[in-house]
Symmetry: C2
Subunit: 303 residues, 2 copies
């Protein structure tokens, strides 16, 4: 029985072992990927992202409670975008998910390092496939921030929830751009703070007039207070409701395109770095004898 | 005389025309890239980044005044990371650089769209090369935020200044990770607010103990008040002082590697999208008949 077959039991230990191998970039896993990907059981992959301080983790915790009450087995990947220089741990150091730590039907894991199977985004989708194959549904991918890497990781999810706080202030334009790109649902968390409902109304007004993805309705904006569970059941309903839309052929194709592009970039970079001409190419680019685009063409065509 | 030769005059019009072609992704420019890249005059490429609301633009404005007093010709690219869905403009809409708008030795341009020559990062380095070839020194690249795309764009710069505000609060861990990855110099701006000096001290203490890039000294942390020019001359000095370190062979090689990797990713994605098998590949991935990594390998090996 191989590492993928073992997942079917739904037991924690084989899953934990496989995730460790994924995270460490075990090269032997490469051969298992087609099988792992094919072993998916259709768990709903839900991305939850937002800036530091928005209460994402608390909200994931509250949602987990709600899902458990609905009889779901919840898998959570907390993705730490810390750099290769700071391997460590925006999310990983925190004591988290205390409430559900003893629940055998909640599986939580921090993903920090970038393994040899690809960058963090690639590692994350492989890990999400493992949780899906082990029968978790939903599979939650929690990321910090709203930068490009988070956008990319969020794109792997079928349904992406962006968490914001009532006090958005000057950042509203930046938030708007980021939201339109990734949010299927927006949660204005810390809803017990003054101005939460007003902030939600402003967001709705802004999104309804935005020149965003033309073919789509603006994402729903919900107010939540994760610490008291206020609005959390409604959010869980909205996530469920989005599942069907997320599985339309157009959406599935768009996610596949993002995944393949990411894999292509990883693969091209890995092969280029291993190419005999790599060192000399970098020297020539650093000395301005060669522009980077021509350098890339030569590396790519040299294989 | 071609578009690159015309830059040597230092006049604004040929530069503006070329930047428009770069931004719109004029495919004829491809053939000019080696020449453009080789025409660089060694202008110092300075990245300035930080979260929305940190006063980056005001600081760039104040630095520009300082550089002009020192007789430098200042080129500025304000990079707008807005998505393809939100083409438009976090930075571009703002009325900016009023103070220097009439100064013929200050050239400012917002870069928003992603042209056919590559993604925004690639477009930015091509545009920076154009400003360098036109004799601007420094060439400033201003980006919003601290996400992956900004990290990547900042890496193109020889010297990167990260702008923060005194009130960092909960975000300090995330800021730390981001800072360690990209900052050569940190400016705590809005230094007239309470707690600015304290925040700077905290940052220095944190950075001195961090397990960051081991071979490097922690970046200097300066306090600035862009609205009153307080600390701005000191910041300009620190930027100048970093120039030599930035041009060591190791640093130059690392920047070249980032540029080539980015170009490889863009190129691989472009070729894959144009490949006859692209549509069928996406269908197979969306239907889970094929995992994304295997899909990428087949596309890459099919050329």
């Amino acid at each position: 029985m191989n590492a993928v077959d073992e997942l079917a039991s739904g037991e924690r230990r084989p899953l934990a072992r496989l995730l460790t191998r994924i995270e460490s970039g075990d090269p032997e896993l490469r051969a298992l990927l087609p099988e792992l990907f094919a072993a998916g059981r259709g768990g709903h992959v839900v991305g939850i992202t937002g800036p530091p301080g928005s209460g994402k983790s608390t909200l994931v915790n509250a949602l987990t409670g709600e899902w458990r009450r609905r009889g779901r087995r919840v898998g959570i990947l907390a993705v730490d975008p810390s750099s290769p220089y700071t391997r460590g741990a925006i999310l990983g150091d925190r004591i988290r998910m205390m409430e559900h730590a003893a629940d055998r039907d909640v599986f939580m894991r921090s993903m920090a390092s970038r393994g040899e199977l690809g960058g963090l985004a690639a590692t994350t989708w492989i890990a999400a496939a493992a949780l899906d194959a082990a029968g978790y549904d939903p599979v939650v991918i929690e990321t910090v921030g709203a930068g490009q890497s988070e956008v990319e990781i969020a794109r792997l999810a079928e349904t992406t929830v962006v968490v914001e706080v009532p006090e958005m202030g000057d950042e509203v334009q930046a938030i708007k751009a980021g939201l339109l790109e990734v949010a299927d649902i927006i949660a204005v968390n810390k809803g017990d703070r003054p101005g939460a409902d007003r902030a939600a109304r402003q967001l709705r007004a802004m999104l309804s007039t935005a020149g965003g993805r033309i073919e789509r309705a603006p994402p729903p904006v919900l107010v939540t207070t994760a610490t008291t569970d206020e609005g959390v059941a409604t959010l869980a309903d909205a996530i469920d409701a989005h599942r069907t839309a997320a599985r339309s052929p157009i959406e599935a194709r768009e996610r596949a395109a993002s995944q393949v592009r990411r894999a292509l970039a990883d693969l091209a970079a890995r092969r280029a770095t291993a190419a005999p001409a790599w060192d000399e190419t970098l020297r020539a680019v650093a000395d301005r004898e060669l522009d980077p685009l021509t350098a890339a063409e030569r590396l790519l065509d040299g294989w």
